[in-house]
């Protein structure tokens, strides 16, 4: 009997001390009209996990998926379930900022590190920054600011801005204006989820701007671009969008009308480096479609976790040490997007490319890289992050 208790105590002690298994809580939006982005990120993440033989950082890895259905309330409850019942060691996956804002207090109170596979509101990365957060995606205004830089480099004498009337829409115009610095022909905010843009397009035609920057996510972008082309404006006014607004997920839905649209992105499917060629080939083989930038974000997130867990030797519970390992990780692995590093607030400092929607040599519609817009662009709002140094 005594032997039994000794064995039980030993087993218990063993269970507490050795973090010989990685348990990742993956909270994402995987269903509903907005689920396409979540599925892209997840597929990229799963691909990297599979290529690493199911082990991130050398540890057997279990990923527990939870679908928030783009409902912040559900997201918060699922985060609690993952953290308290499933006792995960790491969190990742959130796609939408409203879910992130709802789930974030629970995550940091549980003292679990969160690795963002998509952009995150500045309230978390700016003044509210701390060591429980790093991002493998891009700073909130990164693509917009890069687009502004591109418009400036093209010497457009004025630019017309269209965005939906909600916080991320206003962030987009703020970021663009910071990068561009030139004359704004007009700033138009449309109703969120507006479907018919006939009135806006007529105004645009009358204003005759040198270029148009449109940030209209998801279905709004699909409708806007179709109507923009149908109205014959695409031959008159160059259209520039952020990279996440016209990537493979949208190209598949709209097709031909999108040819000739310019965008800015931290990644391109034809980026010339070995890590990217390996990623694109493996993704196409696994899922039989071209990856989008979202898939690259999921893939890089998994690689980042892999590298940091390995260099921290599996000691994830020691948060300051693990945070340090994460911050140093980008230099230790090759991401498909090329070289990048972290700003002190845990957001990526990276290059942005300009791409154009064109056909590749197999006749598929893709985003082709045509140049680098800006190198080593960092998060403007990192200046507000005083908690980390």
């Amino acid at each position: 009997m005594r032997l039994f208790w000794a064995a039980a105590a030993a087993a218990l002690a063993f269970h507490v001390h050795a973090a010989n298994e990685l348990k990742i809580g993956y909270l994402s939006t995987l269903s509903g009209p907005a689920g396409a982005i979540g599925v892209e990120i997840r597929d990229g993440f799963n691909l990297a996990l599979k290529m690493a033989g199911g082990k991130l950082g050398g540890l057997p890895t279990e990923v527990i998926f939870a679908d928030d259905t783009l409902n912040p309330e559900t997201g918060k409850q699922l985060a609690e379930r993952l953290l308290k019942r499933d006792r995960v060691n790491l969190m990742t996956g959130v796609v939408f900022s409203n879910v992130m804002i709802a789930a974030w207090p629970t995550i940091q109170q549980s003292k679990v590190v969160y690795i963002a596979p998509n952009s995150t509101p500045t309230s978390i990365t700016g003044a509210g920054c701390n060591q429980y957060f790093v991002s493998a995606a891009w700073p909130n205004e990164g693509h917009h600011e890069a687009a502004g830089h591109y418009a400036k480099s093209k010497g457009y004498k004025n630019v017309y801005l269209i965005a939906p009337n909600y916080p991320a829409g206003k962030d987009s115009t703020t970021g663009f204006k910071r990068g561009y610095g030139g004359t704004i022909a007009a700033e138009v905010y449309t109703k969120l989820n507006q479907l018919d843009y006939s009135a806006e397009l007529a105004q645009l035609r009358a204003a005759k701007p040198a270029a148009l920057y449109a940030f209209l996510p998801g279905g709004m972008g699909i409708n806007f671009i179709k109507q923009f082309v149908a109205a014959g404006l695409s031959s008159e006014i160059p259209l520039l969008v952020p990279g996440f607004a016209d990537d493979q997920d949208i190209l598949r839905a709209v097709g031909e009308p999108m040819l000739g649209i310019f965008d800015t992105s931290h990644w391109a499917y034809d980026l010339d480096n070995d890590a990217n060629r390996k990623f694109v080939a493996a993704f196409e083989k696994e899922y039989n479609r071209i990856p989008s930038l979202f898939a690259e974000q999921g893939y890089t997130t998994a690689l980042l976790i892999d590298t940091a867990v390995r260099s921290a030797k599996g000691k994830i519970e020691d948060v300051p040490a693990f945070h340090k390992a994460l911050m140093a990780a980008p230099a230790r692995f090759k991401s498909p997007r090329g070289d990048w590093k972290f700003a002190h607030n845990g957001t990526p400092v990276q290059d942005y490319y300009v791409r154009v929607v064109a056909k590749d040599n197999q006749g598929r519609i893709v985003n082709k890289k045509i140049g680098t817009v800006v190198s080593g662009l960092s998060d403007f709002w990192a200046k507000d992050c005083t908690a980390l140094k």
């Binding site: 700033e187 905010y189 018919d196 149908a230 109205a231």
Partner: protein
């Protein structure tokens, strides 16, 4: 420059108004003749658009799918009338509202079960995806022009149907005095079913034509249904002519409000404020119009009942 802007916005408002008319025509007939408030009218519009999107994909042709979708939706409408709505004619309006609201919820879930949550893509027919150059050198989306032509043609056909045919005579008789029409021996049950199926087909036409511009998704009928009710209240319940004028008025006010108010405000306020004020005020304008019409002509512009 301003001339072209005004012309383009007028075409836009005409396009929107004619599509509203297709919806309002069915609604006003059902409301006027059967004295029945049918909230599920928007669901028929949604079902029509979904059938159209599926049929266009199956047949590979927009123009082959269109008549099929119209007939299919008309059958759905007739079945709905025979199975449920027929039992509601004698009830009060509150019961009708409750029952047809239930139909909206059921229709949304059934559509979700069959087609899923993702909105469907319906592309404009080949040849109508680009712009056309109008006399005067202005470019305009050819598909929107096609909508105007189809809408105007249907309006003309409806006008002829209602004023020149025997069925139209019965419809007008039913709208102006139902009891008397029944007393004169009109087979009102069959007439109701036919009118309801016709209304459903008009809904499907609006859904099919608007599909490539908007999105084919669950709940698409609810927003436009409210506007359709505003149209028939402005035009006078039961009157096709009223629905036509009301739809064009609402289309005009909505489009011009959205287009011109922000320009006016942009001169007075910073862009953030102007872009908040413009859309809110322009959506209020429609209801201001309705209130004004009701104040001066409580029966609407063209009342069907004498």
């Amino acid at each position: 420059m301003t001339g072209i802007l005004l012309l383009e916005q007028s075409l836009n408002s005409l396009q929107f108004g004619l599509m509203l008319f297709l919806l309002a025509a069915g609604l006003t007939l059902v409301f006027g003749i059967m004295d029945m408030i049918n909230l599920a009218h928007g669901s028929l519009y949604m079902i029509g658009a979904y059938l159209m999107a599926s049929l266009a994909q199956a047949t590979g042709s927009f123009w082959v799918a269109l008549p099929l979708a119209l007939v299919a939706t008309a059958i759905v409408g007739a079945l709905l009338e025979i199975s449920l709505l027929r039992r509601l004619y004698e009830r009060d309006h509150l019961t009708q509202v409750l029952a047809t609201f239930a139909v909206i919820l059921i229709a949304n879930e059934v559509v979700r079960l069959i087609w899923g949550n993702q909105s469907l893509m319906l592309n404009a027919p080949a040849g109508l995806t680009g712009p056309v150059t109008l006399p005067g050198g202005m470019q305009y989306a050819s598909y929107r022009l096609a909508i105007i032509v189809v809408g105007a043609a249907v309006a003309l056909c409806l006008y002829l149907l209602v004023t020149k045919t025997k069925m139209g005579m019965l419809v007008r008789a039913g709208a102006s005095n139902r009891e008397m029409a029944v007393a004169m021996g009109v087979n009102i049950r069959r007439l109701f079913t036919v009118v309801f199926a016709l209304g459903a087909a008009l809904c499907a036409l609006a859904g099919a034509m608007l599909g490539p511009i908007l999105a084919v998704q669950v709940g698409m009928g609810e927003n436009i249904l409210i506007l359709a009710f505003v149209v028939i209240v402005i035009g006078g319940i039961g009157s096709i002519r009223g629905a036509f004028v009301g739809a064009l008025l609402v289309g005009l006010v909505d489009t011009m409000g959205r287009a011109l108010l922000p320009i006016a405000f942009a001169k007075m306020f910073p862009p953030q404020v102007a872009s908040n004020l413009g859309p809110s005020l322009s959506s209020i304008l429609i209801y201001v119009l309705m209130a004004a019409v009701l104040f001066f002509r409580p029966q609407g512009l063209f009342p069907a009942r004498g």
